[in-house]
């Protein structure tokens, strides 16, 4: 298997002539005596949709939490944009261009839809508090631009009609779309989605599939995905990493992974 994986990765790199955006090297995360994640190494290259799959408890979300700065990995490197970001504060990592969602939707429920999109731009808007208090021209201009960007994304995810509703009152599918728009408005280089299709109906899942591809193609973003919906994963992923008990068991294109004996064993059982 390992020769196969290396070959594929190399082929992909040369194919796209792209450097990796994110490089995970020998990532390990222990909680006391429990090794939740071990020996994880992979690259996400530019404009790639890379999926991590595996049975429940395989450690997928732990990998996400390490990348987004919730956990400080026990050992290993997380290289992003030429720097090792392992163990940095989450807002610093966010400012490097990594943004994520959660399995459960975490919108600012008591704020309106448009406010959710405005507050996500907080870090990008350079005019500070003093400008705000004095309501200077620079401040008003940056607020107007922020509003325009918000309007652009509202159109893009078809939420313009509900712009002034409280986010908590939207339908589930709308909330998912708003969450993705809120990520994208931070202009990330890497978008991390933790089970974005959970709770969506088949129609909404198809739309989500379309949206993710669309973002990859037009916004110059790489996508790192955790997903249980196999049809979605097989459909949109360029490459897939399969984890079990915190360890990698396979990596490759959807086709390769589908026929990997380790993966079949992990998913279908057997010895």
């Amino acid at each position: 298997m390992s020769g196969n994986v290396a070959e594929t990765a190399e082929k992909n790199v040369t194919d796209k002539q792209a450097k990796p955006v994110l490089s995970i090297r020998q990532l390990q995360m222990r909680f006391g005596g429990l090794v939740a994640v071990d020996n994880i190494t992979f690259d996400v290259i530019e404009k790639e949709i890379y999926a991590i799959i595996g049975p429940n408890g395989a450690g997928k979300t732990t990998v996400f939490n390490c990348i987004s700065g919730f956990y400080k990995p026990t050992s290993g490197g997380i290289m992003f944009g030429g720097a090792d970001i392992a163990g940095r504060a989450s807002h610093e990592i966010a400012r490097c261009g990594i943004v994520r969602t959660f399995q459960n939707i975490r919108l600012f429920r008591n704020m309106t839809v448009v406010e959710n999109l405005l507050v996500a731009q907080h870090a990008q808007l350079k005019t500070g508090l003093l400008h705000g208090l004095l309501n200077t021209r620079a401040y008003r201009k940056s607020e107007r631009e922020a509003l325009e960007r918000a309007a652009f994304w509202l159109d893009r995810v078809r939420l313009r009609e509900v712009a002034n509703r409280e986010a908590g009152n939207l339908s589930y599918g709308q909330q998912r779309r708003l969450e993705i728009a809120r990520c994208m408005i931070t202009q990330p280089k890497l978008l991390m989605l933790d089970e974005p299709a959970a709770g969506l109906n088949p129609q909404e899942t198809v739309e989500l599939d379309q949206l993710i591809r669309d973002l990859r193609d037009t916004c110059n973003v790489s996508v790192l995905l955790i997903e249980h919906d196999m049809s979605l994963v097989m459909e949109i992923s360029d490459r897939i990493l399969v984890m079990e008990y915190g360890q990698p068991i396979a990596e490759g294109t959807p086709e390769q992974v589908r026929h990997d004996p380790n993966v079949i064993r992990a998913y279908l059982g057997g010895e």
Partner: protein, 308 residues
């Protein structure tokens, strides 16, 4: 005409200005709680320090120099705000920030320690005696005869009410519309998510403490000018009362703090009009208990939703 009506009218005026002070302090409690979920028990001392810095400023510039009283009031407010904000920031930075993420009791104990420290620090610097604040604001806005009884509002009380209403309006606008206010609301709803979107939550938290100190300093200076004496212990009871106001209105809610402050001030003054004065605190805290029994989340508070 009987005497009840003028009495009620006078108590309404007194109650509102007392409530205004409570509300100014309560906003500091409620915003800090809303964002980091801790009760900053040192906040009452911040208010007391505001009163002292105001007095020191007035003394330092001196009434002898011939500056008009309004100038001294403005200077006292300005300098007290600046110095007190620095205290507010410092308390958070050194006594609370390193404890963030530890169990809830830990920062609470640190806050109580901070409160004792600040109180004694002022006792050492300024003695524990009452200091008198010069009467810079004299006269009455109005003094009318209602059925043979005089109902009046002093200029100092009028100033308290005016400044408080203006500040409340400004704070409401700021939180509702300004960028930093938006970030504050986002942090109070989901501070980790706010961090993941690139909001520097430490800055937002520092800002909250500074805003709280700002409002408390204004309250401290104005109460000094209205009552004309201060001591290092005024922060303790005022802090507890303002905390009560914040809980009454629903802790975490800024309009709730305003409403709670006004309500508590009114209840207290009305109680002292009809009952022996010693009962006023009893009535105030009794009201808190009753409201919490009926509405555990306070008047305008949202019921706590369990976070997943």
């Amino acid at each position: 005409m009987d005497t009840l009506f003028p009495l009620l009218l006078q108590q309404l005026i007194n109650g509102l200005s007392l409530g205004a002070i409570y509300a100014l302090i309560a906003i500091g409690y409620t915003m800090v709680y809303g964002i980091i979920g801790m009760i900053n028990f040192a906040h009452g001392e911040i208010y007391m320090i505001g009163a002292y810095v105001g007095l020191i400023t007035i003394t330092a510039i001196g009434t002898a120099m011939g500056y008009p009283p309004w100038f001294l009031v403005v200077a006292a407010l300005g300098i007290a705000i600046m110095v007190t904000c620095a205290y507010g920031w410092t308390v958070e930075r050194f006594a609370y920030r390193s404890l963030r993420g530890s169990p809830r009791l830990v920062p609470l104990i640190s806050a109580i320690g901070m409160s004792i420290f600040l109180q004694n620090y002022i006792v050492i610097l300024q003695t524990s005696r009452d200091l008198s604040v010069p009467e810079l604001i004299t006269g009455h806005l109005f003094s009318i005869d209602v059925g043979g009884f005089e109902v009046s509002m002093s200029n100092s009380r009028a100033l308290i009410l005016l400044v408080t209403i203006a500040l409340m309006a400004a704070v409401t606008l700021f939180i509702g519309h300004a960028r930093m206010g938006r970030a504050c609301r986002a942090c109070s709803q989901d501070i980790r998510m706010a961090g993941l979107l690139g909001i520097d939550v430490n800055k937002v938290i520092s800002f909250t403490f500074i805003l709280g100190a700002f409002l408390a300093a204004v309250g401290g200076v104005l109460i000094g000018l209205s009552i004309n004496k201060i001591n290092p212990f005024i922060g303790f009871l005022a802090g507890i009362k303002a905390f009560t106001a914040a809980v009454l209105g629903g802790i975490g809610s800024v309009p709730g703090a305003m409403l709670g402050g006004a309500l508590l001030g009114l209840v207290e003054t009305f109680a002292s009009a009809f009952l022996p004065t010693e009962y006023k605190d009893l009535v105030a805290f009794g009201l808190l208990i009753v409201i919490l029994l009926i509405r555990p989340s306070g008047l305008l508070g949202r019921p706590e939703v369990e976070k997943v």
